[in-house]
């Protein structure tokens, strides 16, 4: 979660949002979330699990492309 927040602080183009999956189970289900942490970029499931900063930013950029 913190990496997403750091990216949002580093770029005005990034909005980062933590979503409590059990409270927002409908949204989690709609995005195919089955494990946490799960990352959804622009409303599309991207990946699950923690990754280092370099991989995180590359995956976000790739998901956005």
């Amino acid at each position: 979660m913190l990496l997403a927040y750091r990216l949002a602080l580093a770029s005005p183009r990034v909005t980062a949002r933590g979503v409590e999956a059990s409270e927002f189970a409908v949204e989690a289900g709609r995005h195919g979330v089955q494990a946490v942490p799960a990352i959804v970029v622009d409303d599309r499931y991207a990946w699950a699990g923690a990754v280092p900063e370099t991989a995180f930013v590359e995956r976000v950029l790739a998901a956005r492309a």
Binding site: A8, L9, V14, G18, S22, H31, V41
Partner: protein, 139 residues
């Protein structure tokens, strides 16, 4: 859900390192479905009230952190805590996610974002806005 003395001391210590002021907003409103908290024996709880109690308690632990609470009367993704522009948390920041809230405040309170130069350069290549949602759980 009230913070214990040890938690308060730990959070107060972490927030003492803030390099600038952080202004949070907490939006509350009608929720689509009741929230059942397993840790509370499976009973339904008022997520707005719990979120408010937690966020108010954390913000009260530093003079550099302020909080504005707004009550909405329309359906939405509530409760929503905005830590800084572009940094949000939907739901109750309880359990492990209390750490997310506190460290989100710490990140927002830094003089400069704590990312590598490479990350900064890569982000400058973004031509469009991007929304990153991280689904988490408190346990």
């Amino acid at each position: 859900m009230t913070l214990g003395d040890r938690e308060q001391d730990a959070i107060r210590s972490v927030l003492a390192g803030l390099e600038r002021e952080v202004a949070l907003t907490l939006e509350l409103g009608p929720t689509a479905t009741p929230v059942t908290l397993l840790a509370a024996g499976g009973r339904e709880i008022d997520s707005n009230a719990v979120a408010r109690e937690i966020v108010e308690s954390v913000c009260a632990l530093s003079e550099r952190v302020s909080l504005s609470v707004t009550e909405r009367d329309v359906p939405g993704p509530w409760p929503r805590t905005t830590i800084a522009p572009g940094l949000e948390y939907l739901g109750m920041p309880a359990g492990y996610e209390l750490t997310t809230l506190v460290h989100g405040i710490v990140e927002a309170g830094r003089a400069a974002p704590s990312v590598s130069e490479l990350t900064r350069e890569r982000l400058q290549e973004l031509q469009h806005d991007v929304k990153v949602d991280v689904y988490v759980t408190p346990t």
